[in-house]
């Protein structure tokens, strides 16, 4: 289950999530509405919970605890809460922990003040360091930090320092994202008008290579395009990439129910499923819950080539790739192998030098292929669409 908290103390220029500042007076009613929605939508116990935002740590500790506590979940479920360093107080950390949170994801973004400034982030690196220390003291062993690279004010040296600082902090999980410019954001508008410089693709590619090197030598394993873990990946996020079912509650949250019911990893890649999403604005969401007891705004049934495209584009984000039949492997365009973008391994995960003799195998992106995932997926879905 995904639980959305749309509140922020300040919105960042690059953010295009359903997040709003200056609406804190809505918090009690919003939490009531979400708790009601949780009660109405979950037929079984959740195996993972992710409380994201927005900034969940801006909630009063007791409200956050109420949210977490109201999700029925299995024994040993992974429960992640996103927090910003400046609001990750002992109180909120303890409240989360007590309510059952097992994991904290911290928005670090960069270790350098000028990069944080470009990104509109309010904290300084020492704030983050002390937040991480607090989280550990409270008892969180699973800790993620989010990084953003390739902003135009960042140099290679800056990024190397951020990576070194990250490794020095020693979280057990790291997510690193290239700065993306979304048109409908303040930063997007500034870049489009020429007021601010945007990121450069070649620079982003180089920074990603730096991250791959630095994190690998520090013992992190890259299990998805933007995610590294020392030992334990984020099980919740893996569910998205394997097209498992999930229920999203709160404003703007998406839910997905695969048609096949196979959960996760569909057998029929074209079967698809039903995706729905809630009203995006918190007021609208709350009104819908109050009036109808349902907050779904729209949805789409995904099937056929569209479903295949989703399966490929999500599945290939993982370093384990996707499982293909012998016949399907034969349709993989040769150019992808020659350009060194994909490789085939045995179904059990061991590399095999003669894939054509296998009954089936896993197709996965190479390190180079991960930087060009869109191009690979486009090629593959065209090749598979024709067969």
């Amino acid at each position: 289950m995904y639980v959305h908290v749309p509140f922020c103390s300040a919105r960042c220029g690059y953010c295009d999530f359903a997040a709003f500042e200056g609406m804190d007076d809505l918090i009690p009613d919003y939490v009531d509405a979400v708790v009601e929605e949780i009660g109405s939508r979950v037929p079984v116990e959740a195996s993972t919970v992710f409380v994201g935002g927005g900034t969940p740590s801006v909630l009063p500790p007791e409200q956050l605890a109420r949210l977490i506590g109201s999700v029925p979940r299995r024994q040993g479920a992974e429960v992640t809460v996103e927090m910003n360093p400046e609001s990750a107080t002992v109180e909120i950390l303890e409240a989360a922990r007590a309510a059952g949170a097992t994991r904290v994801s911290m928005g670090m973004q960069s270790a350098l003040p000028h990069v944080l400034g470009y990104l509109d982030r309010a904290h300084r690196h020492d704030t983050l360091e002390s937040a991480v220390r607090r989280a550990r003291r409270v008892g969180f062993e699973h800790l993620n930090v989010d990084l953003i690279y390739a902003s135009p004010v960042e140099s290679d040296a800056d990024w190397r320092r951020t990576l070194e600082s990250t490794v020095a902090l020693g979280p057990d999980h790291v997510s690193a994202y290239a700065l993306g410019i979304e048109p409908a954001t303040p930063l997007g508008v500034e870049v489009a008008s020429g007021a601010k410089e945007g990121p450069d693709d070649d620079v982003a590619a180089r920074r990603l290579e730096m991250a791959v090197g630095a994190l690998a030598s520090a013992g992190y394993v890259r299990y998805e395009i933007s995610n590294w873990a020392q030992a334990v990946p984020c099980v919740h996020n893996l569910r998205y990439w394997s097209l498992g079912s999930y229920v999203g509650v709160g404003s703007g949250a998406h839910s997905y129910a695969p048609s096949s019911g196979t959960d996760p990893e569909p057998i029929d890649r074209r079967a698809g499923g039903l995706r729905t999403w809630n009203h995006r604005h918190p007021r609208r969401y709350m009104a819908a819950m109050r009036q109808d007891g349902v907050a779904v705004a729209e949805g789409e049934r995904v099937a056929g080539d569209t479903a295949l495209l989703e399966w490929l584009s999500l599945g290939l984000r993982r370093s384990c790739g996707v499982e293909l039949s012998h016949e399907e492997l034969g349709h993989v365009p040769e150019v992808l192998f020659e350009a060194g973008l994909v490789e085939v391994g045995a179904s059990n995960g061991r590399p095999d030098s003669e894939p054509q003799e296998m009954h089936k195998g896993r197709l996965a992106l190479t390190t180079k292929g991960m930087s060009l995932a869109n191009a690979v997926v486009t090629e593959l879905s065209l090749a598979f669409g024709e067969c």
Binding site: Y2, F17, A18, S175, Y177, A178, L179, G180, D201, D202, A204, A205, R206, L208, I225, S226, N237, Y240, W241, Y246, G248, G252, A253, H254, S255, Y256, R275, W277, E300, T306, L309, E310, S313, L314, R317, V335, L336, E338, A339, L341, M370, S371, L372, A373, N374, A375, V377, T378, E379, S381, L382
Partner: protein, 599 residues
């Protein structure tokens, strides 16, 4: 049948926008031929394309009844001719159907090059020229200066010029009187075997081919058994009639008359412009002189856009050919573009018209290669070859010859320098420079046709802000110091990009091509070298660096739908690309790369 003495056949020679259509409309209105409420804006130009571009592509005719000052009712046949150099042959046939021509000149603009060329054609055809200066109501009109220009350029006395305003109607009565007085009535023997000149033919979806004819001798009646002498096609006159301007059938057309004949044919190729119609029984021995097969001078490859069918394009070409027999087409195969056609045109405008009609009327999307001329090649082995596709030119030939034209310019003197420079840069050799008035210059150049078929018009227009007019006529073939330049993508030559250029310009041309293509070809999964080669030697090289990043940074539960749409868009974009070997080339590259400003 009409008395010969009461017939006047004439055409109007005018530059675009000098008021030909307005004058024709005014004639129709004065004769009461078309009720006011049915008057369409500019009745004569009927094709959409013609209206949009303000040019006449197909000849049109209309019969006007006018009572002269002597009380006789005269039959004035206005034969509207295509105004463009590409259709010079059609113009000559239309003029041959007339005894006179109005030389219509804008009182503010003066004579333009095209008008001059057509006026000279009319003089050659022995037509009585009636100079008319139009738009005298404009504040900027300088009728006296323009009359002097008429005298100095064409040799018609300035005082013979009629001053009119087709818009207000001023002077139009006098003009009609002058047509009756100055244009000779046609001659012809009603008892001689039928000889009718086809001066236009078009395809009508209900009646099949409709030809416009001028009866020279004999009579043409509905139901007659006929033969087209050049195409040796036997037909019968399903319908005979005149344009009033709406078609109205008549029993018989006699000598000197102009009208239409519906011969029951399914393709205009069987009733070409210039052919002679006679009767099967007691037919004429000799056809009318001057028939010519249309001869294309500009060629390009036309290929279906990706995803579209070769057979759809073939059907469209077949159907259009029924309507316009003056372009040629034959299948060709390109390594880069697959199956398509090599299509020949009368000129550059004709090429644009055909392309536009194919896309607009037949709804096919075309990738066209750069236009080229037809080269004559003498091989080392002594064989004579004709080459209309640059990729077919083998190196090691003995001699290559290319078509030349005589280009005529009329321009304000202030642009003389820039036009001289332009012509010099296009291998032009000046043969004439005359001041036709204090501030207007006539300029003649001999230059290769290849130099004017790409962007010459556009460059001339922009550098002279549209004030220079330009026309050309063929001069025959001359040897050239030419070489083939190939473009290689990823080491593979791309035939559709091959070009024949002057040797001393090969390096610069190759350089520009590879630079342009580097901009047009998107980054791929691997480095793509783009090379220009001449005779196996690489003369220029650029590289499209491999794409290094093309990935969505994050894709969690709430992002899937939106990010999938981005991928779908990317997939669509990829489908619109042409794959040449491993390299994906956008369709635009084939057209844009060829519009290199060479100066």
């Amino acid at each position: 049948m009409t008395q010969l003495e009461t017939i006047r056949n004439f055409s109007i020679i005018a530059h675009i926008d000098h008021g030909k259509s307005t004058l024709a409309d005014r004639f129709l209105q004065m004769s009461g031929a078309v009720p006011e409420r049915e008057m369409r804006e500019q009745f004569l130009d009927s094709m959409d394309l013609e209206r949009e571009r303000g040019i006449t592509i197909k000849a049109q005719t209309v019969r006007i009844h006018h009572r002269g000052t002597d009380g006789t009712v005269y039959h004035l046949n206005l034969i509207d001719t295509p105004g463009h150099v590409d259709f010079g042959y059609e113009v000559s046939r239309s003029l041959y159907a007339c005894e006179g021509a109005l030389l219509l000149v804008d009182a503010a603009q003066g004579i333009e090059a095209q008008t001059l060329a057509n006026a000279l054609l009319a003089v050659e055809a022995d037509l009585e020229l009636v100079p008319v200066i139009n738009k005298i109501d404009l504040p900027s009109a300088e009728p006296e200066r323009v009359a002097e220009e008429v005298e100095s350029l064409i040799g018609l006395p300035a005082e013979d010029c009629l001053m009119i305003s087709a818009k207000t109607g001023e002077g139009v009565d006098e003009l009609l009187a002058a047509i009756i007085e100055r244009v000779p009535s046609p001659k012809g023997d009603v008892r001689a075997p039928l000889r009718a000149l086809v001066f236009d033919s078009h395809y009508d979806q209900y009646r099949g081919v409709v030809t416009n004819v001028r009866i020279m001798d004999g009579t043409l009646g509905t139901g007659d058994s006929l033969v087209l002498m050049a195409s040796k096609t036997e037909v019968s006159a399903d319908e005979v009639g005149v344009y009033t301007p709406l078609p109205r059938s008549v029993a018989t057309l006699g000598p000197g008359e102009v009208g239409y004949l519906v011969p029951g044919l399914k393709s205009v190729a069987e009733a070409k412009v210039g052919d002679t119609v006679t009767t099967r029984a007691r037919g004429a021995d000799e056809p009318l002189p001057g028939y010519k097969e249309p001869h294309p001078v500009v060629f390009c490859g036309m290929y279906p856009a990706e995803g579209q069918d070769y057979s759809e394009l073939r059907d469209a070409l077949e159907r259009l050919h029924v309507n316009d027999a003056s372009f040629t087409w034959e299948p060709e195969t390109s390594g880069a573009l697959g199956f398509g056609f090599r299509v020949g045109f009368l000129g550059l405008l004709h090429m644009e018209i055909i392309r536009e009609r194919l896309e607009r009327e037949y709804e096919v999307t075309i990738v066209a290669t750069a236009p080229t001329v037809e080269y004559q090649v003498l091989t080392a082995g002594g064989d004579q070859l004709v080459i209309d596709n640059p990729s077919l030119l083998e190196p090691g030939f003995e001699e290559i010859r290319e078509p030349y034209v005589e280009a005529t310019f009329l321009l304000p003197a202030e642009y003389l320098g820039t036009v001289l420079e332009l012509c010099q840069g296009r291998r032009g050799v000046q043969t004439k420079l005359d001041y036709v008035s204090e501030d207007r210059v006539e300029l003649d150049y001999h230059m290769p046709l290849a130099e004017i078929i790409t962007d010459f018009f556009d460059v001339l227009k922009s550098r002279t802000r549209g004030y220079a007019s330009f026309d050309y006529e063929p001069l025959g073939y001359r040897p050239g110091d030419l070489a083939r330049v190939d473009i290689l993508l990823n080491g593979e030559p791309v035939d559709a990009f091959s070009s024949i250029v002057p040797k001393d310009r090969a390096y610069r041309y190759g350089r520009r091509m590879v630079e342009k293509l580097r901009e047009l070809i998107p980054r791929q999964l691997f480095d793509v070298p783009i090379q220009a080669a001449q005779g196996g030697r690489i003369i220029a090289r650029e590289t499209v660096k491999a794409r290094r990043k093309d990935v969505l940074a994050k894709c969690y539960g709430g992002d899937v739908t939106r990010k999938r749409k981005l991928l779908e868009k990317q997939k669509e974009g990829k489908k619109r690309m042409r794959s040449i070997g491993r390299v994906e080339v956008p369709q635009e590259a084939f057209i844009s790369a060829l519009r290199i400003d060479r100066d």
